[in-house]
Amino acid sequence: MIGKFTVSVIVSNHFGVLNRVSGLYAKRNYNIDSLAVGETENPAYSRITIVSTGDDYMKEQVVRQLEKLHDVKKVVLLDPENSVGVEHMLIKLKAEGEAKADISQLINDYGGSVMDFSSDFITAEITGSSKKIDSFIEAARPLGILELCRSGLIAMIQGTKNIMSVANLDPEE
């Protein structure tokens, strides 16, 4: 079955590692819908969250191929039922005259905040599920989007467990 899935990858925090991970996706003909990367609580490691679209075959291969990379310390396929995820977006909207009020209302409705503005535009920050961000974009589209920038999903397993202590999760398990 084809669908979106998310993997969390803990990697050594040194140069070139992101290239190895994304290169593996390219070489194996897997797509990347979004990718977010940053240092973890332990500066020796970075965490990469990758969202892809694919079937069960691809899900299993992604995990197993990633696990073979020397710089990859841990790979977990996140179960959507048991994980929390969030994405950030900066969006610059045309805001002239009466439209301004509508835009402020929309940002408010989505719990966003205004990061920058002048007489003819507003830049807002929206945080939430990827779905929520998609829906904001759709709502804002008629108002005139000047540009937008999404962070890509970041996600974690629910509960107290640290990713390093989680057993490898195969799609069928």
Partner: protein, 551 residues
């Protein structure tokens, strides 16, 4: 003890038990070569004519020795000339350490003279690679590289060492900790389902690949075969895993495999696949391949299980360990009915002997002229398939052939490395005019090293394998496969300082080979064969046993 980077490299190579390396000097490896000069009594360096020859030689050496081969090249073109050889080692899971020089760290990223990002270039074709930016990390990196290359599923590791790192100093303690993760975590060995499947099977078939050779599991495979009355089919990489003379060894299956092997595989209700990756050349149509049959796949690499064929039962682990456990838990089951059927398949393969100057007879003659432990290298194409079909390999690690990448030009380098690894005993290269043309410059190396290399050149004046496909699938439009080169190969060999002969009959060939045995230096034997000799049987791509072309 403070040592320079170049000294650390040499010390660590010696520490890893390396006594032979292959390579080619250049501007950014001068310091390394200076240390090699001073350490010539500890490490023998084999200078090739081209870096590609060096990397194939290191590959051939590794296959024969069962330990990492080492190759050194300079930055830029030296490094890029290694690329094909690294990819070749990667696809055939050969342990290889490639060391490249690079420009000093201060010049990196500035498109300096002979600078390339070889770490970036080789990333998809190595098990791992490194650029060492600080001499303090060099010792640890080298130690890790050898472990990575030679454990789990083996493969190539490249280490790029900028010139500034070669000249800087650091402590060499031979006591640093390395951090290489183990592949143990993925290992699953639930034997119960496998044992049940074996108990239920009436026509078991064992399919062996290169992983059986890597794991040294030949004995276990034969024991399993005897216990279950199961015939054995081989992938190309698995060819020398089982002695030819073992009566249930049916040889290679797949596109150019033997009839009995492919037929038994298609008839089987259980395939026990060990150390194979179910390449498209081996399986053809994968849904036909596994129809009505249970597959048990044993491999050390978890990602191989389910990659090309979805087995009902996957056992991830060292093949020798898995089979040993399995063997202790399965009873002996004689199965005469199945053995009789296999015998019938074999009978269908029988051919009338003749004394024509054909690839089959040429290879047969070479086979009977050389000792059982002779290393035989091939290039890629028709002659490679003929060698695999007709040469009777009795020992593992004696066939050097480019399996996964299909690298024309592999043979000369591989034969040089293999000959050196096998104590410089007489070594055979079976090649063709097309493949030999790609790296024949390594004749110079075989001459300078005085290697007793017998090059059997099957000369048909065409790129035979491609021509065969053009005959069958492109209505005989022989686009760019007719060579018209007029090369005088015996004369060419003599120009290099080797001996050169032409054979036109089996009697000629027998005389030449007889005279050549126990003589120093390489020789080439030009064997003119018929332009339309084909590799048969042939299962067209994506086909199955039903589509097999026998004549």
């Amino acid at each position: 003890m403070k040592l320079t980077g170049a000294q650390i490299l040499v010390e660590e190579l010696v520490n890893q038990g390396v006594d032979t390396i292959f390579g080619y000097p250049g501007g950014q490896v001068l310091n390394i070569y200076d240390e090699l000069y001073k350490n010539a009594h500890r490490i023998r360096h084999v200078l090739t004519a081209h870096e590609q020859g060096a990397v194939h030689a290191a590959d051939g050496y590794a296959r024969v020795m069962d330990r990492p081969g080492v190759v050194i090249a300079t930055s830029g073109p030296g490094a890029t000339n290694l690329v094909t050889g690294i990819a070749n080692a990667y696809l055939d899971s050969v342990p290889l350490i490639a060391i490249t020089g690079n420009v000093s760290t201060s010049l990196l990223g500035r498109d300096s003279f002979q600078e390339v990002d070889i770490v970036g270039i080789t990333q998809p074709i190595v098990k791992h690679n490194y650029i060492v930016r600080d001499v303090k990390n060099l010792e640890q990196t080298l130690k890790e590289a050898f472990v990575i290359a030679n454990t789990g599923r083996k493969g190539p590791v490249l280490i790029d060492i900028p010139k500034s790192v070669q000249v800087s100093e650091a402590d060499y303690s031979n006591n640093v900790k390395i951090c290489v993760k183990s592949s143990e975590a993925r290992r699953t060995c639930d034997l119960t389902t496998a044992i049940n499947a074996i108990a239920e099977s009436k026509k078991p078939f064992i399919y062996c690949g290169g992983g059986v050779i890597s794991a040294g599991a030949q004995e276990q495979i034969i024991e399993l075969s005897k216990k279950l009355s199961a015939p054995i089919g081989l992938s190309m990489m698995g060819i020398s895993a089982i002695p030819y003379s073992y009566d249930l060894n049916l040889g290679m299956c797949g596109m150019h495999g033997r009839y009995a092997s492919s037929a038994a595989q298609a008839e089987a209700d259980l395939i026990i696949a060990a150390g194979v990756r179910f390449s498209d050349r081996a399986t053809g149509n994968t849904s036909e391949y596994t129809k009505g049959c249970t597959v048990i796949h044993i491999d050390i690499d978890a990602s191989e299980i389910g990659k090309n064929v979805s087995p009902q039962i996957g056992l991830c682990g060292d093949i020798k360990e898995v089979l040993t456990q399995l063997l202790s838990r399965i009873p002996e089951r004689k199965n005469q009915e199945w053995l009789d059927m296999v015998t019938k398949f074999k009978e269908k393969e029988a051919v009338e002997p003749n004394d024509e100057f054909t690839p089959r007879n040429i290879i047969g003659l070479i086979n009977s002229s050389f000792a059982k432990d002779t290393v035989v290298a091939t290039d890629v194409g028709q002659h490679q398939m003929w060698t695999i079909q007709y040469y009777k390999f009795e020992q593992p690690r004696r066939l050097l052939t480019s399996g996964g990448l299909g690298t024309m030009g592999f043979g000369m380098g591989a034969a040089i490395g293999g000959c050196i690894a096998n104590g410089r005993k007489p070594t055979v290269l079976i090649t063709s005019d097309g493949s030999f043309g790609m790296n024949l410059t390594e004749l110079a190396t075989a001459v300078s090293q005085e290697l007793p290399l017998v090059i059997v050149l099957l000369n048909n004046g065409v790129l035979g394998m491609v021509r065969q496909w053009q005959t069958l699938f492109y209505d005989k439009r022989y686009s760019q496969t007719t060579l018209q080169r007029k090369t005088d190969f015996p004369l060419l060999a003599r120009a290099f300082g080797a001996e050169g002969y032409a054979a036109e009959s089996l009697a000629d060939l027998e005389d030449i080979v007889g005279n050549r045995l126990n003589r120093k230096g390489p020789c080439l034997i030009d064997c003119k064969i018929n332009i339309d000799e084909k590799v048969l049987p042939f299962i067209p791509p994506g086909g199955s046993i039903k589509d097999i072309v026998l004549h």
